[in-house]
Symmetry: C2
Subunit: 245 residues, 2 copies
């Protein structure tokens, strides 16, 4: 294939637009930069719609476009420039159990990406995004997910009655600490864990409609949304049996 | 006090130098920008060595220098500019129990700051920094700590025999999952939790000298160092008693 050298190349112009939210509407595409993310997509069985690589690098699958170094650097969102950039289809589904994680008003893309990574790490079935959440397909969120964006099911949720199973909300002021399923609980019964923004938390009208409201026991004021979600996913997937350390 | 208008003002020149690592040697000072961090310092009982505020804003304690808007913006490390910037003394001590967290080779300042925040949240007694760790007093680490930098005891450690108590290392490939103190364990016996860098983990010679090596049970490849440390601190400070959720 011919090497792309012009920054005015229409494919590269289209690629550049994916950096901004306006050009990334739901059900459309998003981009991933760098070998690690491209590898994660391949491992998750997600084929690229289109790819661009440093001319001569032979990175990525057959069919990726060779691009001159300066031209590729000009469309990269990374400070150091990426050697490979690919475009993927966004995939959205319905929120699903057995362990769904719902975020509300988490506006920082780094936090949303970190939560996606934690959801993958602890085997959550879905990350459902409510109002006010950052776009999980923004370049910053995709990078923070470390490739987990390709492996985790995503849902967009307008009202919490769309969420599956028992609704367990995190709130710093709750009376009870969060506890994973005890020996008496029905194994595998679906649960949605609800997490709000760092300062505001979940709105009162959502808390009022949850089956259980719990806190993570901490000594200081706060954990950020990503850390709270990570600890809660750990607790909810923790095996009840105790092995002495 | 007279308003500072010149960027060549020697106090501001000294302040600007604190943004870079070379000018922030151990036992010297560091800077914090923004009302939230200045408030966190005050709450932790850490007096500023010197402070600068937007002229007319009356932010910060008596004695802060009033600075013209453009001049203050020019010394701020924040994109949006800070309305108040203060300089604080670095405080370093010896690593101490009952729950010490040791980081090894964690080079990202955002991760180090997040770990400091988690250490504060879960009441760890100390964050001990080994070779290859980012400076916890860099502006990025200070911001990521969300003010916990003022509340958590810090230590610098050259060899792990300086660490207190039983040494518990996190390693992704360990056979046993990490478990907090069981009912039969001596309550309050000092422990140091050791966490390595995201990809490299802890060096083999350190793992070999630990009393226990454990993993956090996860489904996917990895957690970053800050998330792993956060979950481990949660597990180690978790109450053994189980309350059905």
């Amino acid at each position: 294939m011919t090497e792309i050298t012009s920054p005015q190349n229409p494919r590269l112009q289209a690629l550049r637009r994916l950096h901004t939210r306006r050009e990334r509407p739901p059900t459309q595409s998003f981009l991933a930069e760098g070998e690690d993310l491209i590898d994660a997509a391949r491992e998750a069985g997600r084929p690229p719609l289109e790819g661009f690589r440093l001319a001569g690098s032979r990175l990525g699958p057959e069919g990726f476009h060779d691009v001159a170094p300066k031209t590729l650097a000009a469309v990269s969102g990374l400070g150091s420039g990426a050697r490979v950039i690919a475009v993927y289809e966004q995939r959205w589904g319905a929120p699903a159990g057995p362990l769904c994680l719902y975020l509300h008003g988490v506006g920082d893309p780094g936090n949303v990406g970190t939560v996606v990574r934690s959801a993958h790490a602890f085997g959550a079935s879905c990350v459902a995004l409510g109002p006010g959440c950052a776009d999980p397909h923004s370049p910053k969120a995709v990078r923070a997910s470390m490739g987990s964006i390709f492996a985790v099911a995503l849902a967009r949720v307008g009202a919490i009655d769309e969420l599956p199973g028992r609704l367990v909300a995190l709130a710093p002021g709750a009376a009870e600490p969060l506890r994973g399923p005890g020996a008496g609980d029905r194994a595998g019964a679906p649960v949605t864990l609800l997490v709000g923004a760092e300062r505001e938390g979940l709105p009162a009208e959502i808390l009022a409609r949850c089956d259980h409201v719990a806190r993570i026991p901490i000594a200081s004021d706060s954990l950020n949304a990503a850390m709270a979600a990570t600890v809660a996913l750990y607790e909810l997937t923790r095996r009840p049996s105790r092995v002495p350390a």
